[in-house]
Symmetry: C2
Subunit: 197 residues, 2 copies
């Protein structure tokens, strides 16, 4: 039987802002070059991103960051070499979305099931939801984790980002707008039966 | 962390044939009409299908039935009203793939995680990996379950079907050939780390 997941209404959450958090890499080329440099020192990069789900009017919505009014991304980022996935993702979620003061880092982020893994076989932008045949040394593995949202929470968003709640029906079959990874989130969540609190 | 799944080589399995099993509905229209008739008597239809994974040369392959050298489908079918998902899927897998004699029905089918659910909002062919907004009474829910393959097994295929092992790289991003449900299987399996036995 499918697992259940309790969703709380978007209006339960309080949104505030904090200082901008500039991107570490100024371009895709710079990002791939840094990936290559770090691969030589530390091996495969591990990235963890969180799928935070709320509801509006009884339909699931995923919280996504938008940068420069254009690109969408999930909260989360690459982990330190040797860092535990769940601890690293809590740290990244806290950096990005917790208020600057008054909260202990990552105190109430609850990391749930691993829902997907995306593999980067080369120092290129393509990623696949499997390790392609004949690839023995992938360069990056990005994991999507379900993040179980508490009933209420303050989310504090850097000024250079927007945090948007995107409905599943908008993501599904829409890789033109959201890319192959984010548009597949409706698939990944389909294994749950939702309870709308 | 991702769960692990042990895959055995395709060559571990023995394939034989048995008598044809004609389709219950002669057309899509007939199938949807029967769905509607049964909905009036029993409510939403529940269907369970199995994702059976093996490997060839260290790449995962999914076992799929092909009908009339054209359509692909997973083994499994709709369940009886009130029937347990796992028990019903074992019964369906046994009907379709167990030898006719010498095996106790469903004896060694091991039903694992629910990987996805597809919802049919109307008596039409479209299905979605979520319940569309404003739909309160879906007409069918089709669940995909991981089926954990034993190290060795005899699979006995009705003569009007072929059983094919389709690699994940063939399914991924190939809804033109496999449709939206089957082409998404690479996504659903990406939450596992595979061990190639």
């Amino acid at each position: 039987m499918a697992s259940t997941l309790t969703l709380f209404p978007l209006s339960n959450y309080t949104f505030s802002t904090k200082d901008s958090q500039p991107e570490e890499d100024p371009s895709v080329a710079a990002r791939l070059q840094r990936l290559q440099n770090q691969y030589e020192d530390f091996g495969m990069r591990r990235t963890a991103e969180g799928i935070l789900v709320v509801h509006e009017h009884g339909h699931p919505h995923v919280l996504m960051l938008q940068i420069a009014n254009a690109f969408f991304k999930l909260p989360g980022d690459y982990l330190r070499p040797g860092e535990d996935d769940a601890e690293g993702l809590k740290r990244r979620l806290s950096e990005r979305l917790d208020p600057v003061e008054g909260s202990r880092p990552g105190e109430d982020w609850e990391i749930g099931d691993c829902l997907a893994q995306w593999w980067r076989p080369n120092f290129e932008s393509f990623m696949y939801p499997y390790i392609p045949a004949h690839v023995t040394k992938p360069k990056e593995c990005k994991s999507f984790y379900l993040v179980q949202m508490p009933p209420r929470k303050v989310l504090c968003v850097p000024k250079n980002f927007k945090l948007l709640a995107i409905p599943l029906f908008e993501l599904y079959d829409n890789s033109v707008r959201y890319g192959p990874q984010l548009s597949a989130i409706a698939h990944f969540l389909s294994r749950y039966n939702f309870i709308y609190a």
